[in-house]
Symmetry: C2
Subunit: 350 residues, 2 copies
């Protein structure tokens, strides 16, 4: 591989000059500039990022920590992250934490050693937020700490919307398969549920069961739930994957969706439209969340460089939590009885 020195020799200038045209910093005569450029072309020269990083301390690389890329929720985020990273000249290192504290720590160690510029964290096994303050971090789809920029959806409102929709389609006994209590967004969705139903006469705390954010655990939980409470006619699942589990449990239990039990999920991952029946859900703007988080992180990284804090044009405020809008998506899994919401819509149109 050709080095900057080779280029300098060929162009009969010093390495300093080559460096200057490389970064177009400082003055450099137009003629010598073209000479240098030609030399670079001739030698197929590309600067070594590594060598650069050695004095920069910046690598144009960010880490993306997710629990498990195999969970269909994360590829969509990952794709968004990668897209904007790529756009801004950054490269993304993928890390699967499995929500294990140890694994997560090891990753942070490695990422630090590699002089990674920052991390997008969509998994926080470590309950101690300080761990995440060692370098620029943006938290995605979780809440960890006020001091860390965060991107989430309006989970609580989503919970409300989901339950209201179930009520609208005529459900009168609505249960909630909630995600893990250690995960803030799961708790928020649960709050939305509670807010809406806790003063209903039929409500009982037993209508809430907890499970991991996956199909299997949700299926088990739903099975127990149905056994204990056969009167249930609506289920709000903590996310789409859990909704699939619920769907399976209901199916095995011999009831029908949506006729006997209506079901709504959360996230709007692509899986929702491959199911039969297609799954109603609360859509999070996944791609937007991923790309916003990445833009925040990159801004964070790049403004650390300018220590003068040139507040001239900070696109985003890094000291706040961005809560993005959610949206109710009605599909077959709640297409049931009189659909009040739809009727409202029709009235408006008439």
């Amino acid at each position: 591989m050709a080095t900057i020195r080779d280029v300098a020799n060929l162009a009969k200038v010093s390495v300093a000059t080559v460096s200057r045209v490389l970064n177009d910093s400082g003055y450099v005569n137009n003629k010598t500039k073209t000479r240098v450029l030609e030399a670079m072309r001739e030698l197929h020269y590309t600067p070594s990022t590594i060598a650069r990083s050695l004095n920069n301390k910046r690598t144009k690389t960010i880490g993306l920590v997710v629990p498990d890329i195999t969970n269909p929720f994360f590829p969509e985020l990952a794709r968004a992250v990668e897209d904007v990273a790529q756009h801004d000249g950054y490269t993304v290192i993928l890390c699967n934490s499995d929500e294990h504290v140890e694994k997560e720590r090891r990753y942070f160690e490695v990422l630090k050693q590699k002089y990674i510029d920052g991390v997008i964290l969509a998994s926080n096994a470590d309950q101690n937020p300080d761990v995440y303050l060692q370098m620029p971090v943006v938290v995605l789809d979780r809440k960890v700490n006020e001091r860390i920029p965060t991107v989430v959806a309006k989970n609580r409102e989503g919970g409300r919307l989901a339950v209201q929709h179930l009520e609208d389609v005529g459900c009168t006994r609505i249960a909630h398969i909630a995600g893990p209590q250690r995960i803030k967004s799961a708790e928020d969705r649960k709050l939305g549920y509670l807010e809406t139903v806790s003063d209903q006469p039929w409500y009982s705390p037993d209508y809430i069961v907890h499970a991991e954010f996956d199909i299997k655990h949700s299926e088990e939980a739903t099975t127990e739930l149905l056994a204990a409470h056969p009167e249930i006619d609506g289920i709000f699942a903590g996310n789409d994957l859990m909704a699939v589990g619920a769907l399976k449990a209901i199916h095995r239990y011999g009831k029908k969706v949506p006729e006997d039990i209506a079901i709504i999920g959360f996230d709007n991952i692509s899986l929702t439209t491959t199911l039969v029946p297609e799954l109603s859900t609360i859509a999070q703007p996944l791609y937007e969340m991923g790309s916003l988080a990445t833009r925040l992180l990159i801004q964070h990284i790049e403004q650390r460089g300018n220590h003068e804090h040139t507040d001239q044009h900070l696109d985003h405020d890094l000291n706040r939590c961005y809560e993005l809008d959610i949206e109710l998506i009605v599909r077959a899994s709640t297409a049931r009885k009189k659909h009040v919401t739809q009727m409202k819509a029709l009235n408006i149109q008439e």
Copy 2:
């Protein structure tokens, strides 16, 4: 961040000595060794990978190029890759090529600049194989070139198995929704299909339609196919995603799976079990493929270091194409009429 020099000072030795204990290379007195180790601990010292890479020319980083991580086929591979990499101290850079030559080339450029140690390629937009010979590469789920180590499944045999299974369950007009002709594995599956049915009296080339490896295109293709050939009673889809598309088309067409049309996919991605009906498929050992590819790549990388070619214990032969076994998975989407295969199995057991 503490540097090697800080450690040296604190331990009252030279940097060389510290370096030695770091890599336990060369001789170093036990006492001084412990002294150094303590100094390292005290300073929370971790060596800078960047600085190391500058003379090594190795970064302990590999690239993973996939068409689109959002396609549910790839997360499972990615996970395997990441697991093995992580185990061996490597880090994975994720690249989405969208099968665009330009994007792919840009990635290779960037990866080279970053002194990436090697690449796992699960997408080859570039038809010129030489592009991939600039650094250690292992091709996964594709075939590009004899000279590049490759890991694939027995696609052709899988095609045969799929079609035979459809015949076994009583299908007599079997169509094939084939993947893109530019993709070797898709072509191989098609060959398996052809091999099995081309001498059947009912066979017609019209029974093969091509589409992209995704739901939407497959749905369209299937719709046309059904319109032209309503007599079809079995479909072998080029992969599971395409099977979903076919499922949808059939559903919209008003026919039933598996009663009217049996359907089988390929890959055995997790989606197959969330569908109703669950999808029969030819299982590729995805995780195994990903991990084997990664082990091959790492071996490739590390044996480049030992220029003496210490053939003492080369686990794998890097000059061949690994074709991994596939397996027929029977589920509801082909549970139809008399299931000859199952009967055979029963006979054996009796």
